[in-house]
């Protein structure tokens, strides 16, 4: 039996009220969409968000057992260069795994899920992690600027320990220009939305669901929940009504009013939220949309309770900070220009130092047992040379030892909170604090580590770990 064995999610901490966007454009096209949207912090991108969701998904699971990682996004940080590799390094996965990026379609997330299911069925992999993330830019003033949200999701596909089995699937492809972007476009282009919704979204998903139900001889009443991709909140309801699902009892919340449309991650995020609430035996209809439709019948098993203890969608949606204004959003997305940083090309350094900077390994001295980060070849405590084991520190909790609020350092979001913290179980960490309220930083506060993009220079993105207040 192949299916989902775990799921995790990530929603960035910042939320922007859609009314705040609309107000800026008032008098023109400034019509507010209801609710708020999630906004990735300035140091986040689809790689870092995928790492977060994957860590959530892999909680309590031996990472050595993962033998494939598929990353799906329409907004990967590089046009040429795989992102799955960086996600795998940050997760501290084995080197002998298969990685791939799925991209260029809002369906990339479920495309990757399909490939993972097929790989497990074919026996070429036992446990494949599928992670999807998006951070799309809707054109300024457009409703998409308000509709889109940033987020990530991760599901683990395997044939053992399944919490939701794949009972059936259906896919078709359909070429249409509804939402698209070329290499040189900053913002997503959109066709007339009545065209996109009628002949794209509604027609394709309705076709997909009816073919799927027909194939397996099921009807809407046979499902506990319908986890349906949402074009927006209104069209989500319209789709459910057309399909014959009861909006009150069967339709899974689309997260549209709390997070927004998260692109390639969106359908899987709605699915992850469904699984968080599912009971053993629940049959779930799951669809995505984008250049066609992927539709699945899933059924929660008696192991569904294993999902507990993850932050998931629910935990991340509840944990939030308000983004004070629209200008911050523009700065975070570099729409007011890039922050100029000094520095040198870092490809060689990033490669050479990746075990501590990306994998978050410290050195644990074999002679005195002390842990140091970054990795020290000569132990600062006992002087032992090259006699250490590398230990992963990214999953440890920390306590703030001392800090400063550096307003002089260049940052998109000053002040930089410079931190020294002690690591649970030994060691000291030196890094910035992110996702924080500068007025609520104090010595002794508990912290956790989060993978972030430190800076970009010469088109090279440099990633490492920062601290943040426990979410």
């Amino acid at each position: 039996m192949v299916g989902i064995t775990s799921a995790g999610a990530y929603v960035p901490i910042y939320r922007l009220a859609r009314g705040d966007i609309a107000r800026v454009w008032a008098g023109g096209r400034g019509v507010a969409v209801a609710g708020e949207r999630a906004v990735a912090n300035f140091d986040e991108d689809t790689i870092s968000m995928a790492v977060e969701a994957s860590i959530d998904c892999l909680k309590g699971i031996d990472r050595e057992q993962i033998d494939g990682l598929y990353f799906a996004s329409t907004t990967a940080p590089y046009r040429e260069k795989q992102s799955a590799t960086m996600v795998a390094e940050a997760l501290d996965l084995r080197r002998e795994i298969f990685t791939a990026d799925f991209t260029d379609s809002l369906r990339a997330g479920t495309n990757a899920m399909r490939a993972a299911i097929d790989a497990v069925k074919a026996g070429s992999a036992k446990k494949v992690l599928v992670t999807a993330a998006d951070c799309r830019l809707g054109a300024l003033q457009s409703e998409y600027e308000q509709n889109f949200g940033d987020g990530a999701v991760a599901i683990l596909i395997s044939n053992s320990g399944v919490i939701a089995s794949v009972e059936g699937s259906y896919s078709h492809s359909n070429d249409i220009i509804d939402l698209w972007r070329t290499d040189t476009n900053t913002f997503v282009n959109a066709s007339e939305d009545r065209f996109s919704v009628t002949y794209g979204y509604l027609e394709n998903v309705q076709e997909g669901v009816s073919k799927l139900l027909e194939r397996y001889n099921l009807s809407p009443k046979d499902f506990a929940k319908a986890a349906l991709y949402a074009f927006d909140a209104r069209r989500h309801l319209e789709l459910a009504r057309n399909l014959g699902f009861d909006a009150k009892t069967q339709l899974q919340d689309s997260l549209f009013n709390t997070v927004g449309n998260t692109g390639a991650a969106y359908a899987l995020m709605i699915l992850a939220a469904t699984l968080e609430e599912a009971k053993a035996g629940d049959r779930i209809l799951f669809t995505s949309y984008g250049d066609g439709c992927d539709a699945y019948i899933l059924q929660a098993t008696d192991k569904i309770g294993k999902l507990k203890g993850r932050k998931g969608i629910k935990g991340h949606v509840a944990s939030k900070l308000p983004l004070p204004d629209y200008t911050k959003y523009l700065r975070y997305r570099s729409l007011l220009g890039e922050l100029a940083l000094a520095g040198e090309p870092v490809a060689t350094i990033n490669w050479r130092e990746r075990n501590w900077s990306v994998r978050c390994h410290g050195s644990k001295c074999r002679e005195c047992g002390k842990i140091e980060w970054p990795i020290q070849r000569i132990c600062a405590y006992c002087g032992a040379k090259d006699n250490y084991d590398e230990v992963r520190l990214s999953d440890k909790k920390l306590t703030l030892t001392t800090f400063s609020k550096d307003s002089l350092a260049r940052s998109v979001d000053p002040p930089i909170i410079v931190c020294i913290a002690s690591i649970e179980g030994g060691g000291r960490f030196y890094a910035h604090m992110t996702d924080r309220d500068p007025d609520k930083v104090e010595v002794g506060m508990p912290l956790e580590l989060t993978f972030r993009r430190l800076y970009s220079k010469d088109d090279i993105h440099t990633y490492s770990w920062k601290m943040r207040p426990i979410r």
Partner: protein
């Protein structure tokens, strides 16, 4: 190990006006400080047999020779971050002790303002250097502030104590014609100034300046032979402590002290036979790039117990008035606080201040202290947990 105590003499010194010297170039700064030093020593350039150039920005010894048209003599360029100026003096002193040369020049210089450089390296680190041990960005104030936060949390020190240090230094610097900033400030002004890196505000931070200072040195035994004046000072001790830079990865570094400053001061006290620095040393020109740096010096150099600096600050122990009551004067020249910090020049500038105070020639009479016999200079580069510290002790020969 042979002691250097009293074996090397400083017989002439020069110091430029420090500040935004857009009017002159780096060579002009060198000429300005070297000329004063030569005139003070009563010799000519041709009498110099070897030179040490301390600069973080100028590479090789050539700028010194280019500026002064030295006669193809040996010039070593030294660099030890903020300790560079004292490193030049250290190199020159040991060459004299080795009897490699008889009369030498040690000159520190920095020309920072042409590059529009902001204070404390606003860029922060972006992983450059041979070993990018920490790929994070933080400025010098951002790093020093880590210690201030910890000192506050541990010992109850407050921002007002740091402000009082700055008020004292500006009070001194306002009366120093060579200083960059010559205005007195109040504690209220310091506390209400814009925040640079909390808890350090604008007046907790030194500025960035251009400047140069120079020393002419020979062996003490040769002072008379070469006809130098008899108000020369001698080197009592020289120290350098180069830390392991492990403060950010060792759990036992407490951010409550400067280990390198402690170690260097111990080297100084051992070489010079100092038992009780507070009783024996008259003045200290210390590296007050930030107010917290000076506070740590009070404690780590042994002028007061760890954690008690705030009591001495409140008592005014390290002010001019404190000195007159039998205390120790810190940064009577105005410190980096008033002079700014042209990296390679600062250590030589501190030495200049001590030289003048011992000679009774402080540029303004109201700043001249009575009976100064022993003065200590201190420079440290890097940041808490990762310093290189240079120190020097100077005094009246034989005392």
């Amino acid at each position: 190990m042979e002691s250097i105590k009293d074996k090397v003499a400083i017989v002439g010194m020069g110091c430029t006006k420090f500040g935004e010297r857009f009017d002159v170039g780096g060579f002009d700064l060198i000429i300005e400080s070297a000329s004063e030093a030569l005139e003070d020593a009563g010799i000519e350039l041709k009498d110099i047999q070897a030179a040490w150039l301390g600069s973080s920005g100028f590479s090789t010894g050539q700028p010194l020779s280019h500026a002064l048209k030295l006669n193809y003599i040996p010039v070593a360029r030294v660099e030890n971050a903020c300790g560079t100026g004292l490193e030049a003096i250290r190199g020159a002193a040991y060459a004299l002790m080795a009897k490699a040369y008889d009369i030498v020049l040690a000159l520190g210089v920095e020309k920072l303002k042409d590059r529009g450089r902001g204070g404390g390296g606003a860029e922060g680190e972006t992983g450059k250097g041979p070993q990018p041990s920490y790929g994070i960005q933080a400025t010098a104030p951002g790093r020093y502030a880590l210690a201030a936060t910890k000192h506050f949390a541990t010992y109850g020190t407050e921002r007002k104590h740091l402000a009082m240090i700055s008020v004292k230094s500006h009070h001194n610097g306002a009366r120093n014609p060579r200083a960059m900033f010559r205005r007195e400030i109040t504690v209220e002004q310091a506390l209400n100034a814009p925040m640079i890196a909390w808890p350090l505000g604008l007046f907790d931070c030194c500025g960035v300046a251009d400047g140069s200072a120079a020393a002419i040195m020979c062996r003490t035994e040769d002072v008379k032979k070469f006809g130098f004046r008899d108000d020369f000072i001698t080197v009592k001790a020289l120290a350098n402590s180069c830390g392991q830079g492990t403060g950010k990865n060792r759990e036992d570094y407490d951010f409550l002290h400067w280990e390198e400053t402690y170690r260097a001061s111990q080297q100084i006290y051992q070489q010079a036979g100092i038992k009780d620095p507070r009783k024996e040393i008259d003045i200290v020109e210390c590296h007050d790039c930030f107010s917290i740096a000076e506070l740590m010096c009070y404690e780590d150099m042994g002028f007061c117990q760890k954690g008690t600096a705030k009591d001495d600050i409140e008592a005014g122990s390290f002010t001019q008035e404190g000195y007159e009551r039998g205390g120790v004067a810190f940064n009577i020249g105005g410190g980096l606080k008033s002079f700014g910090h042209p990296i390679g020049a600062s250590g030589c500038r501190e030495t200049y201040e001590i030289y003048k105070e011992i000679q009774g020639k402080a540029q303004e009479p109201s700043r001249q202290l009575k009976n100064v016999e022993l003065g200590m200079a201190h420079s440290q580069g890097g940041h808490p947990g990762n310093f290189v510290c240079n120190m020097a002790l100077y005094g009246i020969p034989g005392k």
